[in-house]
Each structure stands twice: as C-alpha cells, then as structure tokens.
C-alpha cells in the first residue's frame, strides 16, 4: 500500500465513509462483542467475514474501549456444523443478546446489530476525515 491516495482512502473508509458503523455504543451497558464463524465461506458464512472487514474497523475506531473478539474455526472437510453468530456482551461478560449471521449479507448483519445495540449516531462535527 504505497500510494498516498490509496492510504488516504483506506483511512477515510475507517473513519468517514462507512456511515452505518459510525456509532457510539453505550459503554455502561455493552462492554464487548464476540464473533464466531467459519474460516471458509460455505454454509452462509461469507457475510460474516465481509461484515468483519467492512464495518468492524469503523466500530472499533469510534469505540476504542469496546472489546471485539473474533474466533474463526477451520472446517475444510465440511464435517462440523460451526455456528455463525455475534454475542453482545455486557458487564462481567454476561451475554445480553445473540445475532445469527448465517446466510445474511454484511449490511443486513449491521442492520440487525444496530437494532439490538444500545447506541447513538456519531454527530457530523465529530466525524474524522483525513
């Protein structure tokens, strides 16, 4: 990634261009997110991977204290059924809610997460543009 233009695009994608994930999560209620899905795309796990790459950097940027854990299990032989889910964690790692990500697109997963997360949208004047 040597070009300055490309790097600026990369930085702006994190902080400015990904609108849906520009939220402040209520840190008093939600302390972390735990994602579990497959390493491979089959069985409807591709959306989860895309969600991780498209939306999680922005979510982490505006919520540096939010602990995001990601666990990907290898299932080359397709002999195990791996769950594809997000767990919303509260105080003392208590699971507040679970979202199923299987056979969903990345934007659909983000919409579901916004419905279940206690949050407020980042005001326009607090958005960072590089």
């Amino acid at each position: 990634m040597s070009s300055v233009k490309k790097q600026l695009e990369f930085l702006n994608k994190i902080s400015y261009n990904t609108k849906k994930a520009q939220i402040f999560v209520n840190s008093e209620k939600v302390t972390g997110l735990k994602l579990l899905f497959q390493w491979q795309n089959h069985d409807g796990h591709m959306g989860a991977r895309k969600f991780w790459h498209e939306y999680l950097p922005t979510l982490q940027y505006y919520n540096p204290a939010l602990k995001i854990d990601l666990l990907r299990l290898k299932n080359d032989k397709r002999d195990v059924e791996v769950p594809c889910k997000i767990e919303i964690l509260g105080r003392e790692s208590k699971i507040l809610d679970t979202i199923n990500m299987q056979y969903k697109k990345d934007n659909e997963i983000m919409d579901d997460l916004l419905l279940k997360l206690d949050h407020e949208v980042v005001p326009q004047d607090q958005l960072v543009k590089v």
Binding site: Q7, I14, P57, Y61, L70
Partner: protein
C-alpha cells in the same frame, strides 16, 4: 503448410531483431550521459533527498500525531490474531555513497516478547548469580553442551552468553548447531566475557537494528500495548538512532528522513520523529 510455418518463423525472427535493436538504442541513450552529467544527476538527487528529509513531517498528507495514528492502526487490526498485530517503525536514511550502514541496538522499556536466555559457564558462582538475578531458560557448563549435542535439550533460546574458558568447547562441539541459528556466543558479537551479569542486563529487552537499503525498520510494539508504552518504545528507538548517528564511523554523517508507523494489516502513517 511448411511455407506457412516458414513464414511464421521469419516474422518472429524479425520481431526479435526489432526488440534487440530497441534495447541497444536505449542502452546507447543511457551511456550518452557523460561521467560529469551522471555525477551532477547524483548530486541533484542527493540534494532533493536531503531537502525532503529536512521538511517537517507535518507537511506530509499522511501525517498524524502518534495517539491518533495508534487509534487508526488498532481499528485496522481489529479481529486479527494478537500474534500478528505488530507495530512497525520505518525510517528513511539519507546517506551519501560509501557511508557504512547505520546499525546499533535499542533497549526497549517495554520489550515486545520475552527473550529466552542460555548461559554457558563452568564457574558455579557466576551461574548462581545469573540465576538469582535473571529468569534464564538454560544454565550450565560442559554437561549442558553434551546434552544439546546429543539432542536431549532442544535449541529454543534466543540469546546465549558464555565465559571465556568454555568457549573452545562450545565452538568445537556446538558451532554447527548454534551457529546457523545465530546463538553461538563469540567475542566478536560481544556475548563472551569473564563477568556475564552486565552483558545479560544490557541485552535483555534490547533489539538490534541495521540499515537495509535506504531505511531501517524495527518492531516497536503490539496493538495490545498502552499508548504510553508504545510512546516510550518509540522515544527509546529515536535515542538509539541518534546515538548510532553520532557513533557512525564516517566523515559525512547520515540523516534521518521520513518516519512511518504501520501495523501488519494497516496503512503507514507518517509521524514526527525528529
């Protein structure tokens, strides 16, 4: 059929000659520059590099204060395995031709990983002192050498130190095992001394660096480190670079240029390092 093939081969042959001719022309244009012109071009480029190095980092479009840069890099590394979330510092070095490569070692206040140390000595007193003061992985004398030689103990340490009396035995028996891994204690490396304690103290948490091409790249931390710890490591790196510049054995000293902080999967962000 044979005519068609023949024609084809002739055409290919012409194309080939055409390419050769073009290549010869380009070589001729390069060699048209006289020695004086080449020297002038070299001087001009050096002046440009020096001017770029003197420009403040804040002029660069990718410049950010370190705290802001770390926030971006942590966001870029989200969900990646913690072993891969390494932060790198790359500094351009502006040096004239013939100047020896910049090298030295940085002593980090917060080391990136625990270094496993092995100490070879027949002096029981020294071994006892080192064992009391430091967390050593392996300690011993001739018996330890025998065990490593026979393969009873694996070579899984990162650094090794020895006292002079055991060095001949080490070199004759373990040079082929330890040498290729770069952990054979030698006087040249500075890992052999009658008193090992200060050597171990110096090298714990220290990371060697060396100029490769026109830059130095060194890992300064992990994303899991606190901002303060990373900042301390960056400052230690800066001091070590400046010390290396002072100690450089050359009439014309090198200059530190643009410095970039980056992570394994993240972008490179220019920081103020001067």
């Amino acid at each position: 059929m044979s005519r068609v093939l023949l024609g084809g081969s002739i055409r290919r042959c012409f194309l080939h000659t055409g390419q050769v001719l073009k290549a010869e022309e380009s070589v001729a244009t390069v060699s048209k520059l006289s020695k004086d012109q080449l020297k002038k071009r070299e001087l001009r480029r050096m002046a440009q590099r020096k001017a770029a190095a003197k420009r403040p980092a804040s002029d660069h479009p990718l410049y950010m204060p370190i705290s802001k840069a770390l926030r971006f890099l942590r966001a870029a590394e989200v969900g990646q395995p913690s072993s891969q979330q390494t932060l790198n510092l790359t500094t351009l070095i502006v040096a004239e031709r013939g100047v020896p490569a910049l090298s030295g070692s940085v002593s980090f206040p917060r080391p990136i990983k625990e270094t496993k140390i092995a100490v070879f000595s027949d002096d029981e007193g020294q071994l006892k002192t080192v064992a009391e003061q430091f967390n050593c992985h392996l300690l011993g004398g001739s018996s330890l050498i025998e065990k490593i030689k026979n393969g009873d103990i694996p070579v899984d340490f990162d650094k090794a130190f020895a006292t002079p009396e055991i060095v001949p035995a080490l070199t004759s028996q373990l040079a082929r095992v330890l040498g290729p891994r770069g952990v054979l204690p030698t006087v040249k490396k500075g890992t052999v001394a009658p008193d090992i304690t200060p050597l171990v103290k110096q090298s714990l948490g220290s990371m060697p660096f060396r100029q490769q091409g026109n830059c130095i790249s060194i890992a300064v931390g992990k994303c899991s480190f606190a901002d303060g710890q990373i900042l301390e490591n960056i400052i230690a790196t800066q001091e070590a670079y400046k010390e290396a510049l002072v100690n450089q054995k050359s009439k014309k000293s090198s200059m530190l240029g643009k410095t970039t902080l980056s992570s394994t999967h993240g972008p490179g962000i220019v920081i103020d390092f001067a």
